[in-house]
């Protein structure tokens, strides 16, 4: 057994996808994903209990939401590109990729804000309007947290603190960002697409 030899031949805290920090991020994503699942359960449950149209004023328009979805998907691609870059030791790819991701994330939130301002209902109008703003707002808050993580990690990236061997913070920030994008697809499908099927 390896342990009978010198145990210090084993690597110390190697940055790979089995590190405790990586596992912790995966599990946090699982529980955050469940939070969205319960919110969407509330949406579908109240929808199924409603007599008459749901949403009350017809399905939401896609003209802003669809391009915005594509923007968020692209930002996942740029984050992936950045994270793969540092795995190969490429600092430029890391910095550039994270910067583009940051910009795309800010664009997403801005467009989301514009869409909010076009809505004819408010948080208080009825249960549907409350759920619409709560679920998309919760998602927006997750995007915001992802952007703050991005800013922190990017600051460290520009200082050159990450290497091909040590970049767990980048991997975790990327993982979180992909989660935020993935959960948007589910939210988008539930809130924007399913009303067209009713």
């Amino acid at each position: 057994m390896a342990t009978s030899a010198n145990p210090y031949d084993l690597p110390i805290n190697p940055a790979r996808e089995s590190n405790p920090g990586w596992w912790a991020m995966v599990l946090i994503i699982v529980t955050e994903g469940m939070l969205f699942a319960y919110l969407l359960f509330s949406y579908f449950y109240l929808g199924s209990m409603t007599i008459g149209p749901f949403p009350s004023d017809g399905p939401p328009k896609l003209e802003l939401a669809l391009p915005n979805t594509i923007i968020l998907l692209v930002s996942s691609g740029t984050m992936y590109w950045a994270e793969r870059g540092i795995r190969a030791g490429n600092q430029t790819r890391l910095r550039l990729g994270m910067l583009i991701t940051l910009v795309l994330g800010i664009v997403f939130l801005t467009i989301q804000g514009i869409e909010y301002s076009h809505k004819t209902f408010t948080l208080q109008t009825n249960a549907y309007s409350g759920l619409f703003f709560t679920i998309t707002g919760f998602h927006g808050a997750h995007v915001f947290v992802g952007l703050l993580l991005n800013i922190a990690v990017q600051t460290w990236a520009w200082r050159g603190w990450f290497t091909a061997e040590r970049h767990l913070a980048v991997t975790n920030a990327a993982l979180y960002w992909h989660f935020v994008d993935g959960v948007w697809l589910v939210v988008f499908f539930s809130l924007y697409i399913t009303p067209y099927f009713r």
């Binding site: 145990p7 084993l10 599990l27 509330s42 913070a169």
Partner: protein, 636 residues
Amino acid sequence: MASTTAPVPLPERLTRIWETAPGLYGVLATVDHKVIGKRYLVTSMIFLLLGGAEAAVMRAQLAHANEQLLSPEAYNQIFSMHGITMIFWYAAPVLSGFSNYLWPLMLGARDMACPRANALSYWTFLMSGVFLYTSVLVGAVPDRGWFAYAPLTEAAYSPGLNMDFYAIGLTFLSVSTTVGAVNFIVTLFKTRAPGLSVNRLPIFVWGTLTTSFAILFAAPALTAACVLLYFDRRFGTHFYDPALGGSSLLWQHLFWSFGHPWVYIVVLPAMGIVSDLIPTFCRRPLVGYTLVALATVSTGILGFGVWVHHMFATGINATASSFFSAASMVITIPSAIAVFSWLATMWHGRPVFKTPMLFAAGFIVLFVIGGVSGVATAANAYDLQLTDTYFIVAHLHYVLIGINVFAVMAGFYYWLPKITGRMLDERMGKLNFWLMFLGFGVGFFPMHTLGLLGMPRRIYTYADGLGWGWQNMWITIGAYVFALGVVVFIVNFFWSLVNGAEAGSNPWDAPTLEWATPSPPPPYNFARIPIVASRHPLWEDRINEGTGRSVLETGPMLDKGRDTFGTTPLDAEPDEILRMPEDTAWPFFLALSVLVLAYGLLFGVIWLAAIGVVGLFISIIGWFMPSHEPTLTLET
């Protein structure tokens, strides 16, 4: 590198590496799982005493018909706080205390996988409890029950901050519970001693593992329910308001989607305590280890498919009710497997009835009674007669006291000698057991018959001449005898700290790894990391289990830093060294920031909430800031 030249003995070398800094900084910054575990145990026991005091006042009010000791409003506050305190701030945290203290010892590791997250989990637990109990100082105590059914909790019917304390406090506690659960799962995946494969884990570890997964999937339901409630109350949304498309049943669906898994969260580790303790006192391995481990996991999974059995009386349709009724009955199968395994272990062994074993035996009796009344209430037709009566109160106390408190007491008598280094007194222990066991039977069994006679639950008093009076007096006496048992335990604890016999490393001649360390264990747990060859490393010579022998005295030292092995998830092959983080106060500041945020949200003070959010982000960045010296990078 001085350590290689200076001839400092190994234990001293390791102590220097692992011990917590002295002074206030050490108090706030420690990441030692044993310190955190002890804090969890003490804090949750204080909540038990608070909840117990509330129960005592309630029983005084209910002892006679038309008693005027409490106003209806005061009764509502006290009965709500009793439920909230016991279920959320005692029952699960006390088990987290045992798990925090024992897991690394049982797993042959030097700490939990995420020691700083461990500290965060405790601080948020403590501060959320402080937050909840400031409701007493403000005079706005939650008063709509621990279940907080909408629409009674909506702003129109429950003005004041009372239920805001509830909604924010429980969301706050969820942070603690979730962080703790993540840490347990990662610890299991990463930091078991070489050779401690999953089929060699103590059942207690299986219990906490199952519970931790259940928390990840269930806790967000409560968070969602509480967030929606807070929005309804404070921002005028209509989630629970049927007039504008909401539904008061949405609260019940979300609450019980969380609530029923929570029942298993507070009993599975407790069942694990008993499964691990019975073999020690029966002098033989557990009968059906694999079946019990599988039963534990399957109970945790089935627990997610039964929530509607709390809602049979809400007018839900018959098909759904039948499904959930059947699903609830299925849970009897894994439960019965566990019970028969305990009985078979006792039957085939030679039981020695020391205090821990007495509590374990009492636990089995109460488990069976609570289980039978559970089957009764799972039957849809029967439940419609019993719901909202004292029968339900009897059932839930048989479950929560029988399966949680009795196991916790067994656990204390069993493991406190490990924690304090002193044996508890046996005579006081036996007195403690009999007071609690008889007091419990006298106090809670008649609640079944009261329920059948039609006494509704959640009432602050009742009319004379219904024939309930003498039984209620009887129950109150039983409850006070039970409380006396708790007092004997506290006396025994403090008395034994000074006068108890030295425990030595393994006073019960038990089989598992935690008993291979001195009592109390040093900061580094194991001077040499054990290499495990069987399920009972300390009984190998006697029961001749497996082929090899565990290595306890001559294993690897890992003395170049705060190091422990990182091992593979299933077989526990070491594949890396985990250099653990030093003491840090960031978890404390993070928890403090959440507390500030919680008060900001409660009082609607934006700047206070903003300070909390800023503190939160500063703490997170300070915590995760990577060191730019490559050899010292410490992440999570």
